[in-house]
Structures are given as C-alpha cells and as structure tokens.
C-alpha cells in the first residue's frame, strides 16, 4: 500500500475517533458528525423551520468550512469558481437532504451508526451503494453538469466561509432578534438539538477534520464510486478508517450496542432506510461528492458546492415544515406507546419524487 493510502486510512481513523469523542463530550449518540443533521439544526437555529428539538448553530459545520478554507489557502488551492449548472445543483442539494432526513443521517453518520452497532444503518448503506451505482450508470453514459469557470475575483469563494463566520458570531452572541416570539437564534431546550459538546471542542474538531478532509479529498460517495469506476480504493480506505476508528472507541467507551432496536435517532423501516440513502448516494454521485465533500469544496472557493450546502439547508427546512423528515424510534413511556419511527406518508412521497427527479436530471444532462 502506498503512502497516500496509509495517509487516507490514518485520517479516517482519526476522524472516526474524533466523532466518538464528540459524542462522549455531549453530542447526540452516533452523531459525532452528521452533515445533514447539523445543517438541519442550523436551519432550525435561524428559524427556517420550527421543529423545536432540532435547533442549534452547530460549530462543527462552521469549523469544517473554515478548516477547508485554511488548508486550501495554505496549499494554494483556494480558487473562486462556479457556474456548472448551479441551480440544478441547488435542487440536487434539496433532494439530497430529503433523502438524508428520511434515513436520519448523511453517509458520514451512516458509517458512525454502523460503527455503533446500528443494523438499520447497514440497510441504509446497501441503499447508498445502489444509489452510487445508479449514479455511476449515469456517469458512464455521459452525464455531465458542465464546466465551472474560475472567477477573476476571489471574493465569491469567500462568501460561504464569511457566512460561517457570521454564524459563529450569532452563536457566540446568542442574539434573540424577536424577544416576543423567542427567536431566532433558536436553541433546542430538549431533543438532539439540545445535546452538544462544548463549543471549543466542537469548533476545534470541525476545524481539524476540515483541514484533514481537504488534504486527503475525503468523500464517502467518491470512495464507492471510484471503486466501481476504476477499481481505485484510496477514498474507500477513508471510509473504512472512519468505521474502524469509531468502532474501536465505541467499544472502549461502552457505546457499542448491536441490533435494529433500540438505536438512537434511528428508525426500523427498512425500505425507507434503504431508499433514503439510495437517494443520497444517487444525488451525491451526480454532484461529484457527498454532503461532507460539498462543505469542504465550499471552503476551497467552489461556489457551486456552496449552493449545494444552501440547498441542503433549505431542503432541511422543507423537511420539517412539510413533515417529510422521519421520526426517531421511541421506547414506550408513561402514557405513550412505543413507536418504531420512520417517515410519514409525505416523507415517503417526497423520497420517491426525489428519486424520480434526480434520475430525470441524470438522463437529461447527457453529453454526446
């Protein structure tokens, strides 16, 4: 194995370990990192949706973008660019979030959930592989969203990183703009949004992982895609590293618990775990990168990727305003029966519509 591969594997191990450490320090279970969940929490913090249990200005997201910015500036790779079917990418971002919230996690959280012993995540992972495989089918028959252009000015590429700095300011200041209504900024008093590691740790973890992920070009959909397309396992080793790092630390800290239920912030509707991540895998492959990779590219000056990030935040608002996001399983409690969780009828419809729309984009953008 060459040096690059060892490097990617080591970075993966480190990211897995950092993720579990964040759970130990207060993040929701199996959610040291979840790009989709955390962008959804940010959508809630700024009041784009009012689901009271998932609102927090997640410093990990801010750190990931700023970490990638620093790493790319240092490496001379920061370059403002964009213009590759930008609005189509926005739509793909919206549907990528819908898929993720039907499953209850992005591909990164899927790995972390598997490393926590959650069998539902394995079902999702199989869906993810099929989704990436479908994306590869489109790539092979000539799918292309077109060229991005380098901008004559670096200003555009700094826009999303600067918005992240503003978000950090809002978090530190905890400003309430409308005292009568109690927000925004909104902070969950209960539920996953109320569970978080101390700011310095979550921001620091985000920065560190942002730097590492930028350097090794970590991408979860890319790992499976490259293996299918050119039998290259470099990025896949990052995937395996994250799994192994998180698994070891989960076992050491007593977080590892196998089974379909009970599992934290998860549901047992197999079909929708499969189809949710199928949609994510397909959208991510057409976009050229998973939700994590989109954040990292945003930090490097890629304004198309920044548009995907904003699309995902808007998608999260749709998910909670239109009741598309899955509910998590609940154990029986006083006065309430146990619930297996899962998406409601609107979430199921949205997921199917998403698969159809994304596949239609896959067919429509065929190049000769």
């Amino acid at each position: 194995m060459d040096r690059t591969k060892w490097y990617v594997l080591t970075v993966g191990l480190l990211i897995g370990a950092i993720a579990v450490t964040l759970v130990k320090l207060g993040n929701p279970p199996n959610m040291g990192f979840c790009i989709a969940c955390f962008e959804r929490d940010i959508a809630g913090a700024i009041g784009l949706h009012r689901a009271g249990v998932v609102q927090y200005m997640r410093p990990e997201i801010i750190g990931l973008v700023l970490g990638a910015l620093l790493a790319s500036l240092f490496a001379g790779e920061f370059k403002s660019r964009g213009g590759s079917a930008t609005f189509v990418r926005f739509i793909l971002g919206v549907f990528m979030m819908i898929g993720a919230l039907v499953f209850l996690g992005c591909p990164l959280r899927d790995v972390l959930r598997m490393a926590g012993g959650d069998y539902n995540a394995v079902v999702g992972f199989i869906g993810f592989i099929f989704g990436v495989g479908t994306g590869v089918f489109f790539l092979k028959r000539g799918f292309n969203l077109g060229r991005a252009e380098y901008s004559h000015s670096q200003a555009g590429g700094l826009a999303l990183p600067l918005i992240m700095v503003f978000f950090l300011f809002l978090l530190l200041k905890a400003t309430v703009f409308n005292p009568d209504a109690g927000g925004p900024i909104f902070f969950s008093a209960e539920g996953p949004g109320s569970m978080y590691a101390p700011l310095a740790f979550s921001l620091g973890a985000g920065l560190l992982v942002g730097i590492l992920a930028q350097r090794v070009r970590l991408c979860l959909s890319g790992g499976i895609r490259d293996f299918m397309l050119i039998r290259d396992n470099t990025l896949l080793l990052g995937f395996i590293g994250i799994f192994a790092g998180a698994l070891l630390l989960n076992i050491a800290l007593g977080f590892f618990q196998t089974g379909f239920a009970p599992q934290p912030v998860a549901h047992t509707m197999h079909l929708w775990n499969f189809l949710g991540l199928y949609l994510v895998g397909l959208a991510a492959t057409l976009l050229g990168g998973c939700p994590l990779r989109q954040l990292i590219l945003s930090g490097e000056g890629d304004t198309d990727a920044a548009t995907v990030v904003v699309g995902m935040i808007v998608g999260a608002a749709f998910c909670h305003n239109f009741m598309l996001a899955s509910g998590a399983m609940k154990a029986a409690a006083a006065g309430a029966a146990a619930s297996p969780g899962g998406p409601g009828i609107y979430g199921q419809i949205a997921c199917i519509v998403g698969i159809i729309v994304v596949a239609a984009i896959g067919f429509a953008f065929r190049e000769d």
Partner: protein, 69 residues
C-alpha cells in the same frame, strides 16, 4: 497527439473522459485541466494503466500533461 480538455469539470469527469480515450488504446494523449485534484486523479489513472506521465504545464490552477505508452 489526441487531446482531451477537462478544465473546470467536477469529480470524476476528468478521470472518465481520460479513461474513455485510454480504453480506446490511444498511445499518446495530451490532457489539459485546472484543479489539483483532477491532476492527481488523472495522473494516477494513467500510471495505473501503464502510461508515462510528463507534466508540460504545472501551475497552481492550470496543468497540461502528456501521457505516453
């Protein structure tokens, strides 16, 4: 010498476009691109397919490489 232009294309399009020509048995190919990620990926693909890689232009955001078998 055949030429393929992968400037501004997102992952994994540069690799796919190059691979298509290599699979056709092209002996000499000039690849022109922009991002350093695509430079790494295309040169990796070429080497693993048994081609020699020679960088003609190797600037920060602009590169050209000749592949020869």
């Amino acid at each position: 010498m055949e030429k393929v232009d992968v400037r501004g294309l997102s992952c994994p399009m540069p690799v796919i476009k190059t691979k298509k020509l290599l699979d056709q048995g092209v002996k000499e190919l000039l690849v022109v691109g922009t991002s350093s990620v695509s430079k790494e990926n295309v040169s990796k693909l070429a080497r693993s397919s048994g081609y020699q890689v020679e960088m003609k232009v190797d600037a920060k955001n602009e590169w050209e490489m000749e592949l020869r078998k």
